[in-house]
């Protein structure tokens, strides 16, 4: 499956069916810091993703200003 990481604008290819929570852990993404999107739907941590899926992992952290 293809994983598009935003805002890094990077795409990685990962093989094999797994839960979203495990996918995020493998990508080094902490829970609650990114939305996982397939099509126009958000996926919860226990949802399965598999080969052929196109997934967007969109970070939600912003800031810097005082």
């Amino acid at each position: 499956m293809q994983i598009h990481l935003h805002p890094q604008k990077r795409t990685v290819e990962i093989q094999g069916r797994r839960q979203v929570g495990r996918l995020l852990s493998e990508l080094g993404v902490l829970p609650g810091t990114a939305m996982v999107i397939r099509g126009d739907l958000l996926l919860t941590d226990n949802e399965m993703v598999e080969d052929g899926d196109e997934i967007e992992v969109r970070a939600v952290i912003s800031g810097g200003a005082a």
Partner: protein, 308 residues
């Protein structure tokens, strides 16, 4: 995973709330959180005119969307900070959002204001971090626009993660004056318009989810100046604590406001004077914005003299 409210298939899981929601129920939950913050802190009422500071990011646009949905009288305020194409894209998103909903929007471009100083000019000429200069500029122009426009309230999109990170920074350095002013509502005083943070109890994740579900087209990329910013270090630390113990951020901020903030507030209470240069309220004879501008102008003069 099923929705906690209606038992339909859940689209979002909120560990801090021990809840999961489908799309309609999440939007209901999010809006209720904001309504409760507004009512609980007596932020404003239906008769108040609100100026909503919008950056083009998820938080401020989600806030504007919720406030409009709740029927409040809002006007957007966008500050063009002059940060290259990032500012151009941000402005486009804000203008498109306002136009699609026929909402009034005020745009202030810093490069076109009095001294023509955009954020990159200031950080290039001074030793200040861009985020520090940006914060000073924003506060000044937010206050000015709110006062000039005769608004009752200035609303910003600061969320729970912003507040938790700020609190961590203030506590680590025991900045008593900052702790005294860290509140979801700063009442109108000494010429300042009331400032409110209706999203202070919703997480960054929740506001991003709301924006996504509502189809709000926001700027996803980070400000190029934010890389390495201390606030992001604190956010990362808080996210690690939250991952280990969900609800930590909420408890940190809520309990501070309940147990500690009033003591700091009582000890540090000072009334603002009037800035002798710009006439806006100031804690001192000159406000922090005019001090910053003075620093930049002095630097420019020294450079010009050295080149002559």
């Amino acid at each position: 995973m099923k929705c906690t409210r209606c038992k339909a298939k859940a689209e979002v899981n909120l560990r801090a709330h021990n809840s999961a929601f489908c799309r309609p129920c999440f939007q209901f939950f999010f809006t209720r959180q904001v309504e409760r913050a507004i009512a609980g802190e007596k932020m404003f009422g239906p008769g108040d005119r609100l100026l909503v500071a919008v950056s083009g990011g998820k938080d401020s646009l989600a806030l504007w969307d919720v406030l409009v949905g709740l029927g409040y009288q809002t006007t957007g305020l966008y500050l063009g900070l002059g940060i290259g194409t990032y500012s151009d894209r941000s402005r486009e998103k804000v203008e498109a959002f306002a136009a699609a909903r026929s909402l009034p929007l005020t745009v202030v471009a810093l490069a076109e204001e009095g001294n023509g100083l955009a954020v990159p000019d200031i950080s290039a000429l001074t030793r200040r971090m861009p985020c520090s200069a940006c914060g000073t500029m924003k506060r000044h122009y937010f206050d000015k626009a709110a006062i000039d426009g005769g608004f009752d309230v200035l609303a910003t999109g600061h969320n729970l993660d912003d507040e938790a990170a700020r609190l961590m920074g203030n506590v680590l350095r025991w900045q008593q004056d900052h702790l005294a002013r860290q509140r979801p509502v700063l009442p109108a005083h000494g010429g300042f318009v009331r400032k409110v943070k209706p999203l202070y109890l919703v997480s960054e994740y929740e506001s991003a989810v709301y924006a996504f579900m509502r189809g709000i087209d926001y700027v996803v990329e980070e400000c190029p100046n934010a890389e390495g910013a201390t606030q992001l270090v604190y956010k990362d630390a808080m996210n690690r604590l939250e991952a280990a113990s969900p609800g930590t951020k909420m408890a940190f901020v809520r309990e501070f406001l309940k147990r500690a903030q009033p003591a700091f507030d009582a000890a540090e209470r000072t009334e603002p004077a009037v800035c002798e240069r710009c006439g806006l309220p100031a804690f001192g004879t000159v406000c922090s914005f005019c001090r910053l501008v003075g620093e930049v102008e002095a630097k420019r003069e020294r450079r010009a003299a050295a080149q002559a």
